[in-house]
Assembly symmetry: C2
Homo-oligomer: 412 residues x 2
């Protein structure tokens, strides 16, 4: 479920005295005991509004019910179904707040005014009409709002796709003029790399929005990409914290300098990768423009792209998420009957990310050397101003991440 | 959860060609297999709109989650919570219809325009704005609508209280100008009495609306009372059928004659009864008006009322549902410190119901004689034009029902 990267239009609020918006994820809402804990935290820290995800496991339970009937996610009933998970969370947290003497205002997307387009299962927020939420605030109520859901102009419920609650929270913060949005989750913050792969991984205390975007899109699962884009656009201070610890967490920052003096802030590894190589002799229609237009129309996002020659035919090589690999293969075969295709699903992408790269030459070379020294073959390369990414064999991921962490991330 | 008996205002539709509204209860929606069966039935029988309850057990599961936090049902988050159950049903049935080539229009209360007052957990339908449903019909879509829920004018979700989906279905039928509403459930129809108590019980093929009201309010659980009132008011043909059999079911009729030549159509037994007897010496404020006004303000509905003298003090004797007995006792004690109260919860009410009584004298006498012949003491009596009810000891219910069935209901 790829996010449209267009930035939604948000109505800005005039009232600038609004406190932070808190967002609690599925694990934080995972049981009655945890919901009571979340209510205690809110009693103590007094957010202006709360956005919640479904209880962990609930969305999967609902989807598995649906899939027993029909595997369609592009229909309104799918969105209506999954939206019920957040509805339950909103209700239960509201009860827990009321028990503590806080008057809640439970709100779903239609009452909270979270307008989206009508792309079911992957809708984009167009606008958060903050008026209803602000009205609740004016009455001294604490809005408890369903994340992950929206409503079309003609009143149909939509869902934003997995992880969309982060985006809901930031969009709501923007909609009501809040300056801060705290994403409460089940980890202490954003790590320099995946701690399950690399035991030297540590929390990044401050990270630049652009770095965070690269980290998120490269497979670091802490935050939904769009939420980071929105927070950057609207100048909302975005913080990731652990619901169950007192760790200060990770703060996103607009500072465009290496924050802790480091060239590389983090190392991202994405294993959900597939690599397709295609050649197609004597077919003028087989060109970059047509191929990627075709894939885009199927909703397939392409990451690394490489163009070359093979026996005087054009050779196009690209990576996509493994989830899309079958669809991509079928689409290409259907359009180009003469095509020669190879699909490799034993690949992964390793990226080093840091705004410090802008001012430090030779970072890519150090990365390639580190990988070579460890006998890791580089299949494809992609770079941006603040990132170098390499496609490698998937069974080398752990070795690569640990070697790059050792090379680039100072021990504290 | 007592229903307000005021009849809601329904907007009548101009289009008179609308087919039947089907309503499926929790048992009918109880599993994926059953939902697929319901979809098959709809494919075959082509209703104009479908109203569904939550999957059986789901509402109880949600309420038990809520009760672990706070036992409050008069708050918006309670209604929002329980409404999620119907939302899941609507979604899953819509998927099953789509699988069969039917284009569904899944609708919740706000989009379907089911307006209620703001009495949370026991809201009353004020109006069904049929326009959105009719619009879906005009587009060739099959509306699948959440029962049991409504929306206040300011957009908050409400719930109608247990059994409210029947009322939703009839109100929606009225709102879109349907002439027929079929309530699909897990029994073959309305029985002459509870078949678990009396093996001679059989299906009533046609029953007068007034009889049905008496049967329903006297403890026959097949239909929600308000749905029968509404159907009678709007002249909607109401039928109860079994989702899982081909039985023709029970049809409500406006015919005001004994339909099958019988004086008594059915025998209702209600075991959720409590009997309170109160005296209060030297207290002028202790009178029928004050006592029942006091109880009404607490939402307690009183059934049989008896007034007498005890040692020159007023003695008030009345029955209520057992569920309300503690609240009634506390309320009376608080208001009348000198009150003398006895509460009996070992009682039940047996009623014989039939429009034939209007024209046949001596029916009550036959009932009393039958009970006396079986050694069953009558504690209180209540009568209406088409009903005689007796309060008896609860351990005599089975004996009484069988004896009265034998006396009044002809064998077929």
């Amino acid at each position: 479920m790829q996010e449209n990267t267009a930035i939604p239009i948000i109505s800005q609020s005039k009232n600038q005295t609004v406190g932070p918006v808190f967002k609690f994820g599925g694990t934080s809402m995972g049981s009655i005991e945890r919901i009571e804990h979340v209510a205690d935290l809110c009693l103590k820290l007094k957010p202006s509004a709360i956005v919640v995800s479904a209880m962990s496991g609930e969305t999967n339970r609902l989807i598995s019910l649906a899939n027993k009937i029909l595997e369609r996610i592009d229909v309104p009933e799918y969105d209506m179904l999954v939206a019920s998970g957040e509805q339950v969370s909103v209700s239960l947290l509201s009860l827990a707040l009321r028990k503590r003497g806080i008057a809640p205002m439970p709100m779903l997307a239609p009452t909270a005014g979270i307008l989206t387009d009508a792309q079911f299962s992957r809708a984009n927020i167009l606008q958060v009409k903050g008026e209803a939420i602000k009205e609740a605030l004016d009455k001294g109520l604490l809005p408890v709002i369903a994340g992950f859901q929206g409503v079309t102009e003609d009143g149909q419920l939509t869902s934003l796709g997995r992880g969309g609650s982060d985006t809901s929270a930031v969009a709501i913060a923007a909609g009501i003029g809040a300056k801060e949005c705290i994403i409460y989750t089940d980890v202490d913050g954003v790590f320099t790399t995946d701690p399950r792969i690399c035991s030297a991984a540590r929390i990044i205390r401050k990270i630049n929005y652009e770095e965070m975007l690269e980290m998120a899109s490269q497979g670091s699962k802490v935050l939904h990409i769009r939420s980071v884009q929105l927070a950057a656009k609207w100048g909302i201070r975005l913080v990731v914290k652990n619901t169950f610890s007192n760790d200060e967490g990770t703060e996103m920052s607009t500072i465009d300098e290496p924050i802790e003096g480091e060239i590389v802030s983090g190392i991202a590894a994405s294993q959900n990768e597939a690599w397709i190589q295609a050649t197609c002799a004597n077919t003028p229609q087989f060109n970059l423009s047509n191929v990627f237009d075709l894939l885009a129309k199927k909703g397939i996002n392409v990451d690394i792209i490489n163009q070359g020659e093979h026996n005087s035919s054009l050779k196009i090589s690209f990576t996509i998420t493994q989830t899309d690999s079958n669809l991509a293969m079928e689409t290409l075969k259907k359009e180009f009957p003469n095509i020669s295709l190879t699909l490799r699903e034993d690949v992964a992408k390793i990226s080093i990310v840091g705004v410090g790269m802008r001012t430090h030459a030779g970072v890519a070379a150090r990365m390639f050397k580190t990988l070579a020294n460890n006998g890791i073959e580089i299949l494809l390369v992609t770079t941006s101003e603040i990132k170098v990414g390499c496609l490698i064999l998937r069974d080398k991921v752990s070795l690569a991440v640990n070697a790059l962490h050792e090379e680039f991330i100072p021990k504290t």
